[in-house]
Amino acid sequence: MITVKLFGMTKSLADNQPSLTLALGKNQSVKNVIELVNKRYPKLGELIYKKKILVSVNQEIAHEDTKVQESDEVALLPPFAGGAFAATKPDVMRMGSHERR
C-alpha cells in the first residue's frame, strides 16, 4: 500500500480527501501510481497525463520511470500558486494555465 498526498484542486477532484491509499505492488514506478489514480479518479489521471498535475516522490518532482516503494512519500502537485512549473528536469514540461473546474 502507498499513500499519495493531495493538495489544492487535486483534493477537490478526489472527493476532498487529503490523501489516497493505493494498493501498489513491489518493483513499481510512478507510471503504475498514475494508472491506479486514473482508475479511481479519471479526471485526476487526465490532468496528470496532460502534465498539468505533477507527481513528486520524496519531495522532488518525479518522472514516469521513477521507482516507488511503500516507504516513499508520494504527492500529486497541481500548478503552484505563483505560476508555471519550473522545468527542473529536461523532460518536465513547463505548465501554462488550464481550464478551471
Binding site: Q59, A84, F85, S97
Partner: protein, 147 residues
Amino acid sequence: MSAVEQHDQLVRVQREDFSVDAEINRVRSRSKRIGGISIFLGTARDHSKGRDVDGITFEHYEGMAQKKLREIRERALKDFDILELLIVHRYGEITIGENIVLIVAGAEHRADAFRACQWAIDELKQITPIWKLEHTPSGEVWVEEHP
C-alpha cells in the same frame, strides 16, 4: 539562539503574520558589511483577474515547501553577491491587505540586493509548492498562475 536556530529563522513558512521591521533587522544583524537591503513584500489584494476577492487561503506542502525555500536561499547566496537572504511565507487564511510573503536581501551594494531579491521571489513562485485559494462572491477558486 544557536547557529542552527538562527539559520532556521531565515527561511520560514508560518501561519502567523510577521513584522517587516523585525525581519529586516534579522538580516541586518547577520553582517556588518551589509550596506544595502532590498525587500519584496507580497500582500493580499481584493481583486484578481477581473473578479472581487474577499479573502485568500494558502495551502503548502509541509517539508517540501521549506526545502524549496532553503534551496532558493542557498542558490541566491551562491549566485549573487549578497550577504544574506531571508524568506518568510504565510499559510492559512489571510485577510485582504495582510502580508503574504517577504523576501529580504542584504548586500554590500544595492544593485546586488535588488537583483537577488527579484530573482528569489520569481523563483519562489515557480518552484515552491504553495497553493492559493481565492474566496470570491461567486465561490472559491484555486489560483493556478499569476505574473
